[in-house]
């Protein structure tokens, strides 16, 4: 990225050429990877042209004016269809930009296209998209993770330098880990959700994905900040990219929760993560074993809340105002037929589960209970974070799995085992590549911290990144 910006600054290359180059990369790689649902070639070149004109007049909007980006297709882009990976919204073209998109445009970034995802962000493999499966660039027979699999794969394959994803239970970090890129789930409320199609509003966050920690931090600085249009937006200051100083590790208290290193964790992943921890220790950090016992309840709690909120958030797709409509004799039948035709099976499954947990006879046993457990989990995490500066775990129990390997939805839900806790408690969590396994597949390490501790997470992530050998950092692509 630094090189790109430098060459733009000295007008060695034009934004046109950079965007053109990435469009060519997409044309070359995407037939095999299928990271994109929509590529806006014409729009991208026009935006690049505008950027070049601004740069020629010395009126660049930001250092990143003219740099291309891809955005997950559940983030509203004015005039560019936003499908959420669903037949339901196949032809839906938003009338407005999400706040994060407005912020990118204000910095002059060039939106080249919309990336693939599990339908309405429900999934962990990007296999549940109505527009086809996305393949892991490291091994096309494997999944890229999900639901932001398109955004992760596009960055890993070099189709774009960076991208935006959304993370409700791990949907940025898990694909980042599988694809060997950096991904941040920010503190709840630091990034506006306005214009981001909701899966579960109390958990959803937009975050940056990039090859390098520095770039992810730079992108985060562009999108973070209060938004009056989002009532859950935090009144936090803007984010400042930190200095990359190794001193940050001196006496840094690193919590290592034993529950994340128990049975079910792939031995190669464990080896890689423990290696990184040793390295941090060598550089001055103090490792502190601790317990996050409530993580045992994280997945059940997460699923209960996510399905409840999703069942309500997705009710608006009724065929009346926009989206798929199947005509019928009366409105109720029209709703039912439109929804039956528009939604895929995983979406239907979660809507049914969510409707069940909110229903009068089950509300107390499920939804209310889950809210209580969520409070316990939050207390557990905040308690741990009062003793340490950061908590480090593997991002996922394994590296990328084979396409079609997880037929059982419950097995798929376990993909979020290490990541859902950060969403439930609201804290930020960063995934950074920590090496390749024996199949040459990337593995990820997760760094969690207190609310608004993103700068520290990036700094620690940067040190880990420095410690991982060049080729093992992102794989051989």
């Amino acid at each position: 990225m630094k090189e790109l910006i430098q060459s733009l600054d000295v007008r060695e290359v034009s934004a046109q050429e950079i965007v053109q180059h990435h469009l060519e990369e997409i044309a070359q790689h995407d037939p095999g990877i299928h990271a994109f649902i929509t590529v806006d070639q014409e729009g991208a070149l026009r935006q690049a042209d505008d950027a070049d004109r601004r740069r020629a007049q010395g009126q660049a909007l930001s250092p990143f004016d003219g740099i291309p980006i891809a955005v997950k297709d559940n983030i509203s882009t004015k005039g560019l269809r936003t499908t959420c990976g669903s037949r339901m919204l196949e032809d839906y073209v938003p009338l407005f930009d999400a706040t994060v998109i407005s912020r990118l445009r204000r910095a002059g970034l060039v939106l080249v296209g919309k990336t693939n995802l599990d339908e309405f962000a429900m999934g962990s493999s990007t296999e549940y998209s109505a527009f086809g499966v996305t393949h892991n660039p490291h091994d096309h027979s494997r999944v890229p993770g999900g639901s932001s699999g398109g955004s992760a794969a596009a960055v890993a394959a070099g189709e774009v330098p960076w991208s935006l994803g959304t993370d409700t239970g791990g949907s940025i970090r898990q694909p980042a880990s599988f694809c060997g890129v950096v991904g941040l789930k920010p503190t709840y409320g630091w990034v506006s959700r306005y214009g981001v199609v909701a899966l579960a509003p109390s958990l959803d966050q937009v975050g940056p994905m990039a090859k390098r920690v520095e770039d992810a931090a730079a992108l985060f600085a562009l999108i973070a900040g209060n938004d009056p249009r989002d009532a859950t937006s935090a009144k936090a200051p803007s984010f400042q990219v930190p200095a990359w100083d190794p001193e940050v590790l001196r006496d840094l208290r690193v919590g290592v929760p034993e529950e994340f290193f128990s049975a079910g964790l792939d031995s190669q992943v464990e080896h890689a993560v423990r290696g990184c921890l040793r390295q941090l220790e060598d550089q001055g950090a103090v490792l502190q074993p601790l317990s996050l016992a409530t993580n045992a309840y994280a997945i059940d709690t997460y699923l209960t809340l996510v399905t409840a909120e999703a069942s309500s958030c997705l009710a608006r797709y009724d065929g009346v105002r926009y989206g798929k409509r199947v005509e019928a004799e009366d409105s109720n039948t029209m709703f039912a037929k439109s929804r039956s035709a528009g939604f895929g099976s995983e979406v239907k499954r979660r809507i049914m589960l969510g409707t069940y947990v909110l229903s009068a006879n089950h509300y107390e046993a499920y939804y209310e209970q889950a809210q209580k457990v969520r409070t316990l989990i939050k207390e557990d995490v905040l308690d741990a974070l009062s003793q340490v500066d950061v908590i480090i775990t593997p991002t996922t129990p394994t590296a990328a799995f084979q396409i079609g390997a997880k037929r059982d939805p419950l097995e798929m839900y376990l993909s979020d085992l290490f990541t859902a806790m950060a969403n439930l408690s609201g804290i930020p969590a960063l995934s950074v590549p920590c090496g390749l396994n024996s199949h040459g597949l990337p593995m990820g390490i997760q760094i969690m911290g207190g609310n608004f501790s993103e700068a520290l997470l990036f700094q620690v992530g940067y040190m880990i990144e420095q410690g991982v050998e060049g080729s093992a950092r992102h794989g051989q692509l």
């Binding site: 983030i75 306005y194 909701a198 909120e309 309500s312 009710a315």
Partner: protein, 484 residues
Amino acid sequence: MSKVSKGVLGMANYDTVIGLEIHVALLTDSKFLCSCSTAFGAPPNSQCCPVCLGLPGSLPTINEKAVECATKAGLALNCQINLFSKFDRKNYFYPDLPKAYQITQDAYPLCSRGFLDYYVDDQLVRTEITRIHMEEEAGKLIHSGSSIVSSDYSLVDYNRAGIALIEIVTAPDIHHPGQARLFVEQLRLLLSYIGVSDTKMEEGSLRVDANISLKPKDSDLLGTKVEIKNLNSFRALEKALEYEVSRQGEILDQGGTIRQESRTWDDRAGRTMSMRSKGDAPDYRLFPEPDLPPLCLEPAWVESIRASIPELPLERLGRLEEQFGLSRYEATFFVHYPDFCQIFFDLAEYDLSPKAIVNFLMGDYARLARERGHLDARRIAGLLTIVKEGLIGANQEGVVLDALFSSEKSAREIVKEQGLEALRDSTELQGVVDGVLTANPDLVARFRSGESKLLGYFVGQVMRATRGKADPEVVNKLLEEALS
């Protein structure tokens, strides 16, 4: 049996128990959760945005003005204002509901435990307010046929979707249909006093749902309740409840049981009809709204709202009666017509008797003012003052009043210009009296032979000759002298 109790005649074995839920559209310039205009009557779907259309990714934000209006209503209804309240989602599918859920307040409403006092006949009664919560309005369906089921197609207008509402819920302590009507009338008046709603029932900005049940007299057990939805006029409210009292009474008399259900009022047929039974009632799956944080109010802010509440109808009624000596009938007139009341208060500042002011305002002036708008209190005071001074006769008042409406001149100027001053001068009037008597020798003779009622005729002739300006008192005196 009092007038308001006529509905329960013949149902002497039962007590009627009525509770009301009143939806009131708040008078805010913009909607509850977005900044769209709330103006009535705009072209369909011209006042919508991504938020009130429920477009994917749009998010609600609370309109503070709506919270202010709801708080004001709560305070005026003697409610406790909850400094901590929350929003919930009420989920159901309907074409007029853009998000397929309504943002409302369920477990933690803004206001609770209030009351409203009002007169039923001459009795001051109190109805408890259980709670007041805020919620958003749905859109409006326009059916090609008579209902959504029988129509070939229905059109949706989302201009109304997202307008701020409050729902006022009363305790079940209203005892007859007439009382329900009086309660809503008083409530409507109070809401218009504090300016939080235009309360136009015909435009749907005040709608009533009524719960009604009968129970055996003196029983503590409540009967099965029936809900009557969407009563959009006072008449419909009273008629529907009266109908239900009869219907339920007849069923109970025959040993039947009442079905718990929702019913609608068919105004043309004059009866209620079943909509759905309890078993068919939707499960709204209420849960906390994740897009909105709880609403936390500062005590000082609530107090500032309290301070902004004007004199309320009941206080005003008391003041008009006690301070100004108005009758209940007169005071009620002014309470119901705040514009007249304001003029009354303005005129009371002058040296005029309340009685004279009331008689004037409730007389011809009321009719003229409704047709042509109010006169400036200063000009009315001018008229009432010259009447009081005797500058013009009572019968000239109407002429001057007409002239006040059609010109900018003061009453004194009008009197002067038109020469309307009362004729009181005896020598001047003596000639007129003499002339009238001389012209009617026959009648004078008949009068003298005992037909005393002819005096009125002579007075009338004098008045006619003086174009009404003669002081009747002087004329009477002169005539009596001349005829004796």
